[in-house]
Amino acid sequence: MKQGDYSLKVLAALLLICILGFGLFFIQIKEEIPVIPVQGKIGEPRSDDVWMISRMIAAESRGEPFDGQVAVASVIVNRVRSPKFPGTVNGVIYQPLAFTPIVDGQFWSVNPTDNHLRAARYALNGWDPSYGSTFYWNPATATSKWIWSRTIITRIGKHVFGV
């Protein structure tokens, strides 16, 4: 009987692992459903841009002061206007390796708030508290040494902004 108890325990443990494994599998699938941005009508060309940028703010700049959020949005807008980067908001956001939330998929799972939308609109309308920056990074988490070779323009909250 002792041996039987042992194998039952092993069985139970394996079953538990299995259930956990299945659980993880399905949770992962659930998280990966992308949300497709709502398309604007003709004459509202920016509604997609506002939506896209507010997602980036929600992923990168949650808990930051309002000017920090507008500044992150400004970096995207400044890139669009720069000859060194792609020429559309989509092109800039989806440029491979350009933004961490795209690499780790967070971009598709965040829920932008009204305040994030407001920050995105301010940046698209021309307010630029980053003063022309085309890069931002968080000194606490930035892994690339290269980023520190950029010229720093300003610091807001936990982000550094530069060109």
Binding site: K84, P129, S133
Partner: protein, 455 residues
């Protein structure tokens, strides 16, 4: 008793292993398939990039050989679209901004420059000797980039490197072969920094436009304390009932070098107010109220516009006219342009955002005004209004004509007649040069329930 139990547990164990390997195989297959799909997209962009550069080589060569303005116009416009396509291809590759920024700029400027030349030749003007030499340089540059990319295809084949293996930047170090390929792209990009000539021409990516310095920053430099006083006084113009305390002052060394000042109202309001004060002259560059207006609309749009107008008057920056407004969120954005002798000065634009909850100013931006404002002597128009009207499309049902100074892509300013008219129910602004009678620009005005927007 013992044997069947062991058998059963073995059987169940076997089933679990089989199940696990089934699912991991599924995962593997899925990952494998998506990796291949991604690689296909990278390769597609890479080889399209090479092909577009080949086409650019041919087109630039033909421009050098051509002696027909008619041909030049068509060829140069094609160069522009090919260069833009190549730029899109390049920015879809996982090479990192560090290795592509210069190449991206080269392609942007090549296209933009060609487009500006196409406008000239379409206008009947000749390509100058200097411009011909620039095309020659760009042609040579293009050929070098093309051959370098061809070399890189060889290297990738030889070392069996896929684009997918170039993108593990943030984590571990890249395998040696991948690093060699990435360095190849990096070298190509770095070389452009030294080789490409400075391009000054009539387009938005021209070096003189990208590196423009602000014209409107008049007056002596202000220090931190003075800037803080200016910020608090500015807020007094919005709300006289409270004073403000500075909670933070930072520096921003951008195009308009500024103090970035955060204020809190003394009346207990919790939300930050952010202001930018230029270090030269102490001009207010921008203001943003960090508090989002609540979603209760108590103020009519007409009153919001009039509040914005009253506020702009208080700033004493000169004469301004409201040129349009748009409700977004719970704010009304009102655009103002400067005015001089009844002429609308579009380059001198300021923006005011009014909270539709309180009617107060929630945001202010004068960066465009500070970049372009300068004392101007405007020449009298050569054309009469009647002549300008006659110069517009005969189908346009004209509603209003006024004189306006407009900024062109190259920062040049042109005095024009702004003709507002309708075709098929849509509103257009047509700008006719007041000296030469040429049509400079057309804007489509989109009327929405929330206001108007120009495209």
């Amino acid at each position: 008793m013992r044997t069947p139990r062991i058998l059963i547990s073995l059987l169940v164990f076997g089933l679990i292993v089989a199940g696990a390997s089934y699912f991991s195989a599924q995962f593997y297959n899925q990952a494998h398939t998506s990796q291949n799909a991604l690689e296909a997209s990278y390769q597609n962009n890479f080889f399209n990039l090479i092909e577009n550069l080949e086409n650019l080589d041919v087109l630039l060569g033909k421009t050098l050989a051509s002696n027909s303005k008619h041909h030049d116009t068509i060829t140069l416009v094609t160069v522009w679209s090919m260069a833009e396509a190549a730029r899109t291809n390049l920015s879809n590759l996982p090479l990192g901004i560090i290795n592509t920024a210069r190449s991206n700029q080269y392609l942007s400027q090549l296209g933009d420059f060609s487009y500006s030349l196409a406008k000239k030749t379409a206008d009947g003007q000749e390509i100058s000797e200097n411009e011909w030499k620039k095309i020659k340089q760009l042609h040579r540059e293009n050929r070098t980039i093309h051959s370098q990319l061809r070399d890189l295809t060889g290297l990738m084949q030889e070392k069996n490197v896929r684009f997918g293996s170039l993108s593990r930047v943030e984590k571990a170090r890249l395998p040696q072969e991948s690093q060699a390929v990435l360095d190849g792209f990096g070298k190509l990009d770095e070389r452009l920094q030294d080789e490409v000539p400075t391009l000054t021409y009539d387009g938005p990516f021209s070096d003189h436009v990208v590196n423009r310095s602000p014209l409107g920053l008049t007056g002596p430099a202000v220090d931190k304390k003075q800037a803080e006083i200016i910020a608090r006084e500015f807020m007094k113009k919005i709300n006289q009932n409270t004073d403000y305390t500075v909670t933070n002052t930072g520096l921003a060394d951008g195009r308009i070098s500024s103090y970035s000042i955060t204020l809190k109202p003394d009346d207990g309001g919790k939300d930050d107010i952010i202001l930018g004060i230029s270090r030269k002259g102490g001009h207010v560059v921008l203001m943003m109220n960090g508090a989002e207006p609540a979603a209760i609309r108590k103020v009519t749009r007409a009153r919001a516009v009039s509040n914005a107008e009253k506020f702009v008057e208080k700033l004493e920056l000169g004469e301004f006219i409201a040129t349009g407004h748009l409700a977004e969120g719970n704010e009304l954005l009102v655009n103002f342009a400067g005015q001089q002798d009844g002429i609308v000065l579009y380059p001198d634009m300021i923006q005011v955002s009014i909270s539709l909850q309180t009617g107060n100013v929630a945001g202010y931006d004068a960066s465009k005004y500070l970049l372009s404002h300068i004392e101007r002597k405007l020449a009298a128009p050569v054309l009469t209004e009647a002549e300008a009207r006659a110069g517009a499309n005969p189908h346009l049902e004209i509603e209003r004509v006024r004189l306006a100074l407009i900024p062109l892509d190259n920062l040049e300013e042109k005095l024009t007649y702004e003709i507002k008219g309708k075709i098929e129910g849509d509103t257009y602004f047509v700008y006719i040069n007041a000296q030469t009678g040429t049509q400079e620009k057309i804007l489509l005005i989109v009327e929405t329930p929330e206001g108007s927007r120009s495209i």
